[in-house]
């Protein structure tokens, strides 16, 4: 099967990006250096092509009830022009995907992981009745994330709308060069100031927006940022990555997503199972750790406590900001205390690590 490409493919290629297969898309993992791209976002502003993400519109008279049943967070708390981080679970409480829900007044838009688009759509269609319309608009939607302290300064030069009052996890309709753009104050980098822009995936349109962004951002040394730095940026804030830190074998409570799991809203898919988990207590927990040493841990490495296996690493990397090796791991509840030490088997070498509070940086 040939890889899918986003509308920015030729731009990535011309920039000399290293392209990799990510969830069936030919995506830029880095342009120049993961560390440099990471620091560009932390210090100024960076742009990510994340058009591989899936977008699904949910409309119809039954849309609210449908989403209230489908997702773990409470849709009744989601105001028009608001964005909500949420998850959908199976009946066992296993996480099918994590997602963003946009309240667009007359409909909702869900933003889902690229690797889960087909799975999520068939799951959603199974749950929907005739009062709900589900439209996959992934292929017709481009998505750029503009992240970092100067992102607002860049966008205020080119968006036909005042963004200074746009609150975290809200969005507005704007335009760039006359092209309609949904501007959302969200992101996956941990930056307090960051935006995600949704617009038509028409190649000319998309390339125009990229060019306008980079022209406006040149005074801030704006940089293109690949998926490699997207991963290290999100890990510094301990944001969970689907497929690494959570999947259908993990429930939201042990994954640390209790805060988006609103059992008080009434029944939803998986709520009974999750409720039972809460009642009996979790057996393992996703924790953050910092390694004492220069070998980084990676996904799948085994974790020990006093010589006995207690879990496994789900994400690990050098933190470019801390210059320390950080990561996330599932460990037995008894070994999950902040300040405790664990050992990680790094290809036969045992490295000591301390369990720390997350996020790793503020």
């Amino acid at each position: 099967m040939s890889l899918k490409r986003t509308a920015f493919f030729n731009i990535h290629k011309n920039l000399g990006a290293k392209l990799v297969d990510f969830a069936g898309f030919e995506m830029p993992v880095q342009y120049e250096s993961i560390v440099k791209e990471h620091l560009a976002v932390r210090e100024s502003v960076g742009v990510f092509d994340v058009s591989h993400m899936g977008e699904v519109e949910v409309s119809g008279d039954g849309a609210f009830e449908f989403l209230q049943n489908l997702t773990t967070n409470d849709i009744s708390k989601l105001n028009p022009n608001g964005v909500q981080y949420s998850a959908m679970c199976n009946e066992n409480g296993g996480i099918i995907d994590d997602l963003l829900v946009y309240n667009m007044n007359d409909k909702y838009m869900l933003v889902i992981n690229a690797s889960n688009i087909d799975k999520d759509l068939s799951w959603m269609r199974e749950q929907a009745d005739s009062n709900v319309t589900i439209s996959d608009i992934s292929d017709s939607t481009s998505l750029l994330a503009v992240q970092g302290r100067h992102s607002l300064n860049v966008l205020r030069k080119i968006c036909g709308v005042d963004l200074s009052g746009l609150k975290y996890y809200t969005f507005t309709e704007g335009s760039i060069e006359g092209i309609p753009v949904l501007i959302s104050r969200t992101g996956y980098t941990g930056e307090e100031i960051g935006f995600e822009l949704y617009f038509s995936s028409d190649v000319d349109t998309s390339e125009k927006i990229w060019k306008v962004l980079f022209d406006a951002g040149s005074e801030f040394d704006i940089k293109p940022v690949g998926l490699g730095a997207r991963d290290t940026l999100r890990l510094e804030f301990a944001y969970r990555l689907y497929g690494n830190d959570m999947d259908e074998t993990t429930n939201p409570i042990e994954a640390g997503l209790g805060w988006i799991t609103k059992l008080s809203k009434g029944n939803f898919i998986g709520s009974e199972a999750i409720s039972a988990v809460k009642d009996r207590g979790i057996s393992r927990k996703l924790v953050g750790f910092i390694i004492d040493g220069r070998l980084p841990a990676r996904h799948g490495y085994e974790v020990y406590k006093d010589g006995i296996k207690t879990g496994y690493v789900t994400s690990g990397s050098l933190s470019p900001v801390l210059q320390k090796n950080i990561g996330l791991a599932y460990v037995n509840k008894d070994n999950s205390e902040i300040g405790g030490t664990i050992e990680i088997n790094i290809r036969g070498k045992m490295a000591s690590a301390e369990i720390v509070k997350t996020p790793f940086i503020n």
């Binding site: 290293k18 880095q30 993961i34 980084p296 050098l318």
Partner: protein, 127 residues
């Protein structure tokens, strides 16, 4: 992509520079580019170790991935570039000089013709 003509290469994307009976070994420009930002060189062999071609000498850690350093020849380890870990990015910026990794005193069975030339290596990586 810089593939100097005065070096020999291996299929493991390492280069070897032979001066007298000492071989200096590192990873190629292609390899450093594939690995991305280098963050740590972990040579597990120690000075004076007798090693065989094909054995793992240690690993090179990048932000996204890890790769083995394979001995290209039989001999004794006579040098390990400890400086790399002061500034690991030197492997990215200068893989053939400052970014060298180990020195091996070759035994007398060393056969230069078993390595790839620069043009053969370029063919291997498709440039």
């Amino acid at each position: 992509m810089n593939i100097p003509s005065d070096l020999k290469y291996t299929k493991d994307h390492e280069w070897i520079r032979v001066e007298g009976d000492i071989a200096t070994v590192g990873i190629t420009d292609y390899a450093q580019n594939e690995l991305g930002d280098i963050i740590f060189l972990d040579i597990t062999s120690t000075l004076g170790d007798s090693i065989k071609a094909g054995v793992e000498l240690g690993t090179i850690e990048a932000v996204k991935t890890v790769s083995e350093i394979i001995s290209p020849a039989d001999g004794l380890i006579t040098g390990i570039n400890e400086q790399i870990n002061e500034n690991p990015s030197v492997v990215n910026t200068d893989p053939y000089n400052e970014g060298w990794m180990v020195k091996i005193k070759l035994d007398n069975k060393f056969d230069r013709s078993s390595f790839l030339s620069d043009s053969e290596y370029k063919e291997l990586i498709g440039i």
